[in-house]
């Protein structure tokens, strides 16, 4: 299959958007026009202007500065939650996929039981049990995110290890670790990379959602979901308060999807 040019451009586009966000997040202390914590009480809820490019919030703080300072917080939390749930899920899923049928079946039952609980509600409950902070949101999302990975990776491993060329390699005397590293992982990692991109986008929405509910980042820390929540009361008078973080979240999730789509096209080499 000739690699699709559209898919490649899409991937480049998504990566560029995400990279732009990340770079501006890292450079936030130097490029943001104002201190994100300092309120200008005389200039509350101002529409976008030359001195405040995206306006000011209810406390007169610069929205663009807060947006920039919140970038690493939101994206970092999403990435951390995504990575942690992937690692947890991979540990369980790979073990279940490689284990004997009985052990694998038991683990699968455990995974299904964990999946039966509604993820977001459970995350809200878990985050609520811990003291509200961004860290507890990340921990809660990792704890509810792993069963999805575990089930999916188990299925991938089971499919991969019963491919004929794996059996053939075993028949030729290749064994154990080498089968795992050279024959199974190359089959599993490309689709896992695709799923990781998609899940990271979903995690960003979840992190923002929990922060919106007040379980995550606490004021005055700038965070996108938190900013959305703070804008709620002034929706009629100052819509830019909502548009700015909302657009940022949407763009990042879309970028993740585009990267995933492009990876998906790349994940299947010829003859597979």
């Amino acid at each position: 299959m000739p690699f699709d040019r559209t898919a490649r451009n899409m991937g480049i586009c998504g990566a560029a958007v995400l990279a732009a966000f990340l770079v501006s997040g890292v450079l936030a202390p130097w490029i943001s026009p104002h201190d994100p914590y300092r309120g200008h009480l005389a200039r509350r809820l101002e529409p976008p202007s030359a001195s405040f490019p995206l306006g000011t919030d209810a406390l007169g703080r610069c929205v663009v500065s807060r947006l920039l300072h919140g970038t690493l917080v939101s994206l970092g939390a999403a990435l951390a939650a995504s990575a942690a749930s992937f690692l947890l899920g991979a540990a369980v899923g790979l073990a279940a996929g490689l284990a004997g049928p009985r052990c694998s079946g038991l683990l699968a039952m455990g995974i299904d039981a964990a999946l039966a609980l509604p993820a977001l509600l459970l995350a809200v409950a878990l985050a609520g049990l811990m003291s509200p902070s961004l860290l507890s949101v990340v921990a809660a999302l990792s704890l509810v995110g792993w069963p999805w990975w575990a089930r999916w990776l188990r299925a991938l491993v089971l499919e991969a290890r019963h491919r004929e060329f794996v059996h053939a390699a075993v028949a030729l005397g290749v064994s154990g670790r080498r089968i795992l590293v050279r024959y199974l992982l190359p089959q599993i990692l490309p689709p896992a990379a695709v799923a990781f991109a998609v899940r990271t986008g979903a995690m960003l929405v979840a992190v923002s959602g929990l922060s919106y509910l007040g379980l995550g980042a606490q004021p005055p820390q700038p965070e996108w979901g938190r900013m959305l929540e703070e804008s709620r009361l002034h929706l009629g008078r100052a819509p830019w308060l909502m548009i700015a973080p909302g657009t940022a979240i949407t763009l990042c999730v879309a970028a993740c999807q585009m990267i995933a789509e492009s990876l998906r096209g790349r994940a299947r080499p010829e003859g597979v």
Partner: protein, 268 residues
């Protein structure tokens, strides 16, 4: 020394109701240099036999009874771990479908080298050189080392497997329909290569096929499998000219019919 001795092999498929016995009390022996053909109708357990002998039974099939002796290793149900030290060293299974038997994401040279590295304990560089030599030995062009399986024809892929067998110097080869899906020219080439390898290694060959025409010229001894038991065993020529068991007779008659039709010029 006898290369392979299997006695009382029992393989069961417990997922069927009632459980289906796939192999029942099957016994086999193979000496160095001997070429044994196994034939029989579809579903008689030919491929299951190949998988049992290499410890690669696909679930839900279960090895329930009997014992297998490969070289100096004694294998029995419940001691399947031993297979890891036997496969590739003392017994080699050449897979049926060459289309899917090679890793699609790995070059052919790497794949041969991979097996040599693991089994013979060669270094990366040595194994690569050895792989290139073996691939050349089976008549593959030099670019094949860097080629991916999808870039090779079916006959070339089967040669890759034979190259691995040669490289591993394995004394016992089990070939399950090694030429299925190949055109007649490739089939003849692959067969002669395989026989050449068997001769060079003074190995035993267990050739599994339903194609009597193919077996006739290739094996010394022929065994007919029906419903999991060997119903008739004997020298290939004798067995085909004077079949005794009804199943053998049916197979031979079917072959004769095919040839008569071919000679009469009508489509088979």
């Amino acid at each position: 020394m006898t290369l392979l001795r299997a006695a009382g092999l029992e393989v069961v498929d417990p997922s069927r109701i009632p459980p289906r016995i796939v192999l029942r009390g099957l016994c086999l022996e193979l000496e160095p240099g001997e070429r044994l053909g196994i034939t029989g109708p579809s579903g008689a357990g030919k491929s299951t036999l190949a998988c049992t002998l290499t410890g690669l039974l696909p679930p839900p099939l279960e090895w329930r009874g009997g014992m297998i002796r490969i070289g100096r290793h004694r294998l029995a149900p419940g001691r399947e771990r031993l297979w890891d030290t036997v496969r590739g060293r003392d017994i080699l299974l050449l897979f049926q479908s060459v289309g899917t038997a090679l890793h699609p994401q790995m070059t052919v040279g790497r794949q041969v080298a991979e097996a040599l590295e693991e089994v013979l304990g060669l270094s990366r560089r040595e194994s690569h050189r050895e792989a290139a030599r073996r691939l050349e030995e089976v008549g593959l062009p030099s670019f094949a080392v860097q080629a991916y399986p999808y870039q090779l024809s079916g006959g070339m892929r089967q040669r890759v497997l034979i190259a691995i067998a040669l490289g591993l110097r394995c004394r016992l080869l089990v070939a399950d329909e090694p030429t299925s899906g190949l055109d007649p020219i490739a089939r003849a080439e692959v067969l002669s290569l395989l026989l050449g390898a068997v001769r060079a290694l003074n190995a035993g060959l267990l050739l599994i096929s339903h194609d009597l025409r193919l077996l006739r010229g290739t094996v010394d001894t022929l065994a007919v499998l029906e419903e999991g038991t060997l119903v008739e065993t004997g020298p290939a020529g004798l067995l085909l000219s004077a079949p005794r068991h009804p199943q053998t007779r049916r197979l031979v008659e079917a072959l004769a019919d095919l040839e008569r039709q071919a000679n009469a010029g009508s489509p088979a």
